[in-house]
């Protein structure tokens, strides 16, 4: 029930944003761009990294993060797009008893929008679902995931390198709500206006 309502809200919001975007520019005299952001950096898990009670474990809350994002950017400040990527959440290894390791990560599938300030500063916000994945190595290997509703907020500073390319530094908070997983990432991103009409 909770998921059905969430999905409905997501669909309505997507429809609203797409419609708003389509009607935002005056017909005939606008330029539209598709802009790709590809980046990577470090993530830091800031929620409680749960480990089994009674297990002595070495926990790592820092790891790699990557982002792939495509934004539809009209000639005004608000743009919309889709984001995915991969973020390590946390991992741990048992330090006593038999060897055991858990690696916990997520792949977001978010609808995002962006507000641009002073041509260089972008504020992103979005929501959707994350595929939260477990890789367990203990008496065999289990690799399995589940969906968790979530949201993202990010701020990036973008420096143009040419007419179609740029480089950006981005600070992002990503939160898979149902599984209570929050992480901050700091990434360097390559920005490419790959299509314009």
């Amino acid at each position: 029930m909770y998921r059905r309502i969430s999905l409905r809200i997501l669909c309505i919001a997507c429809g609203f944003l797409v419609t708003a975007g389509l009607h935002a520019g005056a017909p005939g005299d606008s330029t539209f761009k598709l802009v790709a952001y590809v980046g990577g950096g470090l993530s830091r898990y800031i929620s409680v990294a749960g480990t089994p009670s009674g297990m002595s474990a070495d926990v790592s809350k820092t790891g790699p993060a990557v982002t792939f994002r495509v934004m539809w950017r009209p000639e005004h400040l608000l743009s919309v797009g889709l984001e995915t990527g991969w973020t390590k959440l946390y991992s741990y290894k048992s330090t006593s008893g038999p060897a055991a390791q858990v690696y916990y990560s997520q792949v977001p599938l978010y609808f995002v929008w962006c507000m641009r300030f002073w041509n260089e500063l972008n504020i992103f916000g979005g929501f959707g679902y994350s595929r939260v994945n477990t890789n367990l190595d203990f008496e065999g290997n289990v690799n399995i995931g589940t969906w968790s509703m979530g949201w993202v907020a990010a701020c990036s500073y973008e420096q143009p390198l040419s007419k179609t390319m740029g480089i950006a530094a981005e600070l992002k908070y990503i939160n898979a709500v149902e599984s209570q997983d929050g992480a901050i990432t700091l990434q360097v991103q390559f920005v490419w206006n790959f299509y314009e009409w």
Partner: protein, 400 residues
Amino acid sequence: MPETSNDVLLSETRRFTPTMRSSIEGVYRVLEGNDVFGDIVAMKWSYSVAENLTDTTFALSVFSGRDVGYFVLQGGTLDSVFIFRGYWRKMVNTETGIAQFAIGSKNGGRRLFQVTPVIGKDSIVFTGSFGSGQGLPDRQVAFAYERPLYKAKRFEILGHRCGGRTSDMLPVSENSVAMVLFSPQLGLTGIEVDVRITKDGVPILYHDNQINLRETQKSGLVGTIEEYTYAQLQAFVRLIHGERIPTLQEALHAALYRTPTRFVYVDNKNSSNLALERSIQKAYMDTAAALGREFEILIGIPTEDLLNQFLTLPDYASAPSLCELSMDDTRKMGAIVWAPRWTEGTQLSNVATMHAEGRRVVTWTLDVAGYVQEYLAQGDFDGILTNYSPMVAFYHYTRQ
């Protein structure tokens, strides 16, 4: 739940005798505290046995008809005074606190020391107080003996998920051995257990189809139970109050050897290995019979698929079972209990038909006070599966 385990006075008391305990059980009139606990309460003893299978702890549960309220008390005698300490709570909200009672020597204490005490109206009076949270008890409460508990009809009070849901803020996790041991304090005569099969074929107790934060502590493990082996679950997953996920055998062992539980309804949540379940059922029921213990385990059949699987068992006709499907399916599989949804009503003629065929009828899952009263007064069910067992216990034991 307030911490009540380190009571100094209680440690000085002597244990009640079986006669004392049975004499105390009954329906009591509330003399003080009616605004919180209603006008009458029902008192019933239960017990649980420690893991060493020798140390037994008795608990006196007091079931109130208001807001699914109840007390759980432990006690003993000090000279001719009966001392009780414990806690009270209401299941429909967060109200809870410490409670303490005494039966003074002139309020029935002296009488309860007799070899065969004669108990009648007002012959036992509990006087005491209750508090809020961890605070000292500061509000007066008193109960006077009114009449014996209703025992005219055998009736099963069955607890969902081993006795209660984690969401009802119980001190132990649903579908855990700890919940099996706790369940008699909630007035339960039986439990429903949710069975799933691990990747390596071990029947375990777990309700949802996913490892989630409703049922388990965060561990970095997600996905379905069936993707993990039993060893992996044991090593990495803890239930919400820290317990490990039990096997079906561990739960049955606890119910048989460590509680007075007499009815276990095995609810199969996925395509269980019914042949394995049947062998476990037979082993435990044979053991119970050898011990002279009243104890039945029923394989629950909630779907057509499981029904077809059940009918392939070579000895299905002799396997005690419970059918949630139609009356015809119940007959087809030879189930001894038919379990219709409570929303289908009291179904008096269908229940009478089942009774005439020698079957019992248990309805599920009934949590509404008005319907519990109605079904007990006008229905003829042999049991109710509920999340609010103190409420069902109250309405059942206070029947006249």
